[in-house]
């Protein structure tokens, strides 16, 4: 049995308050279960309630043992780590993996730097848990017990990976934070920096990269996709910010034959009321046009693959 539970679905920054009660205000954190195996995707603030829940449930059966995958190291995706209770418990085993952009720091120092006296009363070296770090690229890993994961670079202003988990013929795919690849070179010959070759190569490269992403989603049982903006918002001034529109996510998921699409990484300013309206509106717009189920991510939602 492969399933995912959402513990945090916000983009950019936690946003608690009366306007985010239904969908939640915690930043990215997913709990994936492949029978007895526990996988956590992202250490946003949602990992705090996840940690508490693990201590109250799994811990009764034995120490916490989890594979943790970081989509990228932007702050909203790692900021919950210091408050993840299992890191203070002897016997906890965490294998943390994620991409690191071209710079000198390691994944361990980027995530672990949050645990230094200037930010936090406990230092990384004082943690009781057994934690290993691995830097990931585009690759495929066998996690054992029949669980595998494939990674794919996405389009975000920092190196960012999508994950495709497969278990007993079922699949859960994450594709956030992600903006459709696009040609960033001028295509108008009147533009002073126009270059015919760059324009052509740019078009081709963007198309090919988007096709690769579609192949990565192909026939996924569950796809959790970045939908920070509406198409209108995206086109009005969010180009290059590294996020997708609802329209783009729905279209590409449908094209790739996805079965359940989860709209994820809500803009922090989006209220419960707005998210409910958007969910109803998009469901209405695609009614009868696709067999794909579409749902707005909300904290506590559990989806089976």
């Amino acid at each position: 049995m492969l399933s995912v539970r959402i513990w945090g679905d916000r983009g950019s920054i936690p946003c608690p308050g009366p306007a985010t009660v239904k969908f939640g205000g915690n930043t990215s954190c997913l709990e994936i279960r492949a029978d007895d195996r526990l996988v956590i995707v992202d250490l946003g603030t949602g990992v705090k309630p996840l940690g508490d829940w693990l201590m109250g449930n799994d811990f009764k059966k034995g120490p916490i043992d989890a594979d943790v995958f970081i989509t990228h190291t932007h702050w909203d995706h790692i900021m919950g780590f210091p408050m993840f209770t299992p890191i203070f418990i002897p016997g906890t085993k965490l294998r943390i993996r994620g991409p690191v952009s071209y710079e000198d720091e390691t994944l361990e120092s980027i995530i672990g730097a949050q645990l230094s006296y200037r930010y936090w009363p406990v230092r990384q070296s004082e943690l009781a848990a057994d934690i290993t770090y691995d830097q990931l690229k585009e690759t495929q890993l066998d996690l054992g017990d029949g669980l595998t994961v494939r990674t794919k670079y996405l389009n975000h202003p920092i190196l960012c990976l999508g994950y495709r988990f497969e278990y007993q013929g079922k699949s859960i795919v994450t594709a956030y934070d992600n903006e459709p690849f696009r040609n960033v070179f001028p295509t108008d010959p009147k533009d002073p920096s126009y270059d015919e070759d760059a324009a052509r190569e740019g078009e081709l490269a963007a198309r090919e990269e988007n096709e690769k992403i579609l192949r990565f989603f192909k026939d996924a049982d569950v796809l959790i996709h970045d939908t920070q903006y509406t198409k209108k918002e995206y086109e009005a001034g969010k180009l290059g910010w590294g996020h997708s529109s609802y329209e783009h996510a729905i279209n590409s998921a449908h094209k790739a034959g996805v079965k359940k699409l989860v709209l994820f990484h809500h803009d922090p300013n989006r209220t419960d009321e707005q998210l409910e309206q958007l969910e109803a509106e998009y469901k209405h717009r695609i009614a009868g046009k696709t067999e794909m189920q579409v749902m707005m991510a909300r904290e506590g939602l559990v989806i089976s693959a």
């Binding site: 920092i158 052509r200 190569e201």
Partner: protein
């Protein structure tokens, strides 16, 4: 060549610096948050060492990409402008810059101009012959980097290199032959060491290794190798730039025949090549 000299060249290649002509511009472009992808592409493209280093990093195990990337445009779209900026900045800045003392035997600006001319000419020739535009960038890169082996020889064996250049002048022989005689190794071989270190094997590496011994070449990238040979000839006939070789050998008829080009093609492409070089000069604010 002594093992010591080879070791020196290898050590130099490991920390190979970028050319200062473009470094200031790279800094300016990369440090400007408003830099457009087109600016970034242009400034990196103009520096043979930087192009090589950026492509090397992109194709390294660091990113583990499934495909080999040979075009900067594609790299910028795939990895984003920030990543490529970072690569360029660190390549350009973290390495020691080539100092004038490293360029005793060669004139740095002349070398730069020659490299750019051969790159541009190789690309223009390829397009003229209807080569798939997708591959045109590879012709440019191959041409731009063909003489890269002169940099380490010049830097670590400068006394010998000054001698090689003067023998080439005095005896009216091609520079690569004088290099062989004095140093026991020529710039094509040193260049191939760089190509291997930068993981540029394939068309670019072959063009570097075989641009003088092209008649012995039996590999799969003859089209690129021969185009670079012809572009190199173009640069010396038209006297655009100068990279130390006052007496280049005439090229074999086989090259013309293989590429299906006539002698007057040089006159046909001269204006376009000059225009491209002028564009680059204005961009780099050099005279």
């Amino acid at each position: 060549m002594s093992e010591d000299a080879e070791r020196k060249i290898q050590a130099y290649i490991k920390n190979m610096p970028s050319l200062p002509t473009t470094v200031a511009k790279v800094l300016e472009v990369c440090n400007n948050p408003k830099t457009s992808p087109a600016d970034l592409n242009q400034v990196i493209s103009l520096d043979p060492v930087l192009v090589g280093r950026v492509l090397k990093l992109i194709n390294s195990a660091y990113y583990g990409l499934g495909q080999q990337v040979t075009s900067l445009v594609r790299a910028i779209i795939m990895l984003g402008i920030n990543t490529v900026k970072n690569l360029a900045l660190s390549s350009a800045v973290l390495r020691n810059l080539t100092s004038k003392k490293d360029f005793q035997a060669l004139d740095m600006d002349g070398f730069w101009r020659h490299s750019l001319c051969v790159g541009v000419a190789a690309k223009v020739l390829a397009k003229k012959r209807g080569v798939d535009p997708k591959q045109a960038e590879e012709y440019f890169t191959a041409g731009l980097l063909h003489d890269i082996g002169k940099i380490p020889i010049n830097a670590v064996l400068s006394k010998e290199y000054v001698m090689a250049v003067s023998i080439s002048d005095r005896e009216r022989i091609s520079l690569h032959r004088a290099e062989d005689r004095i140093i026991g190794m020529n710039h094509a071989a040193a260049g191939f060491m760089i190509a291997k270190a930068w993981k540029l094997e394939g068309a670019v590496g072959d063009a570097i290794a075989y641009h003088h011994s092209y008649m012995e070449y039996t590999g799969p990238h003859k089209d690129v190798v021969y185009s670079v040979v012809l572009a190199n000839r173009f640069a010396s006939v038209m006297e655009i730039g100068f990279s130390g070789n006052r007496y280049p050998e005439k090229i074999d008829n086989a090259v013309w025949e293989y590429l299906g080009l006539e002698r007057d093609v040089f006159d046909e492409i001269e204006a376009v090549v000059n225009q491209e070089i002028e564009k680059a000069k204005i961009f780099l604010k050099i005279d």
